[in-house]
């Protein structure tokens, strides 16, 4: 297959992705190009094989049922359980009992999840881990730690306005041993994120905050070059804390962020 058109133009023609003029032009070329004729015939045979293959696999019926049953739990707000009419039919008393049972189940699932999370301690997204540790090391260079230096959350939070397309939470945990030092903009994986800087005894911690994306989940924990990182989401935001402090300290900071 030596004709240069056979690599892309031919596929676009086969897939009906050329406009009328482009298709006509390719057909004119096809009349005189034996390479492309042979290649197109081979591709059409392959397409036919796919069409007759019945390789498409439909979702099993039980999966559909499982997802339907799990849907309200996907949202942790109790209000959504009301949408599940099958389990709340009946008198008010039974209704509340059912809600309580579901909440209990959700709690159990939550605990299970946490244990699963623990089991997957070393399971992480290597790209995120590498990116946050790089960013952490970069921030340790002189003059790079914070663009806005302030222990006042009401100074740091407004600083982000207009610099990001979201307003990151900027809590100060000085009373819990994690004083806010400042904030800056950083770039992780091509995305602009907020970096919050906290102190922990003599150590510096970076907490990266991004708007949560459906296609990208931040979760897990791990160690890269002696630095620990811990990632979590709270629905609206994704967080990743990184520092040379102990994993227990990272976890404590995470709990402070998650506390209402």
């Amino acid at each position: 297959m030596s004709c240069e058109l056979s690599d892309t133009r031919l596929h676009a023609y086969l897939d009906g992705e050329l406009d009328a003029a482009g298709a006509a032009e390719f057909e004119r070329h096809l009349e005189t190009c034996a390479d492309c004729q042979a290649h197109l015939a081979a591709e059409e045979k392959l397409r036919e094989a796919f069409a007759n293959s019945q390789l498409y696999e439909r979702a099993p019926q039980r999966l559909r049922g499982k997802i339907r049953a799990a849907l309200p739990q996907a949202d942790s707000s109790p209000a959504s359980f009301e949408a599940d009419s099958t389990s709340t039919a009946g008198a008010g008393y039974w209704r509340w009992l059912a809600v309580a049972a579901i909440l209990l189940l959700a709690l159990a699932v939550g605990i299970g999840w946490r244990q699963l999370d623990r089991a997957n301690r070393n399971a992480y997204e290597p790209t995120l881990a590498a990116a946050v540790v790089d960013a952490h090391l970069r921030s340790m260079q002189p003059g790079h730690l914070a663009d806005v230096v302030s222990t006042d959350q009401h100074t740091v939070k407004p600083w982000f306005v207009g610099k990001l397309n979201f307003a990151p939470p900027v809590p100060d945990f000085a009373n819990d041993g994690f004083p806010l030092i400042g904030g800056r903009l950083d770039v992780l994986d091509g995305r602009t994120v907020a970096a919050l800087v906290y102190g922990r005894r003599k150590h510096i911690m970076n907490v990266f905050v991004a708007k949560a994306q459906p296609q990208e989940s931040w979760s897990g924990s791990g160690e890269v070059q002696g630095y620990h990182w811990l990632a979590w989401e709270n629905g609206a935001f994704s967080f990743c804390a990184v520092s040379d402090v102990s994993p227990a300290d990272l976890n404590q900071l995470k709990q402070l962020f998650l506390a209402p």
Binding site: E17, L46, S80, A123
Partner: protein, 178 residues
Amino acid sequence: MLQQDERARFEATVLPHLDAAYNLARWILRGRADAEDVTQEALLRAYRFFGTFRSGDARAWLLQIVRNCCYTWLQKNHVAEEMSEFSEVSMPQEKETPESLAIVNHDRDRLRRALEELPAQFREILVLRELEGCSYKEIATITARPIGTVMSTLARARQQLRVILGGASAQKEARHEL
């Protein structure tokens, strides 16, 4: 009753694409049980983020999430896999096929095995194009790649698939000649 509306809207716009979600997961992960788990996880994730989906192509939006969950799953389970699209395809392992099998079953099996041998990125693009019937633009959205890359990846995927199928049939012919 906002939640109820939200759920009804989700069931009407996203849930109809469950087959597409499962099929993509099944071919990326190469296993049905894993595909069920990851599809469920992806659907629940889609529900959680449904607020960010305004309108447009719900199938492409969902498949984007499914694809991402699949690769995260492969990484978590240390399936180092052929994450690179440049990895060489080994020659197909010869498996005996009972002569009694109908020829159509035989062809389907051959294509299935050949497809499963391809690197993940080739599998996914062929499944999206040939089984799911996605346009180049949709594939570009789902795989987060420029259209030019979609075209060249598809061309290479088809070429490798034909090499595997050709290799298998060549071996078979050679056996018949013996």
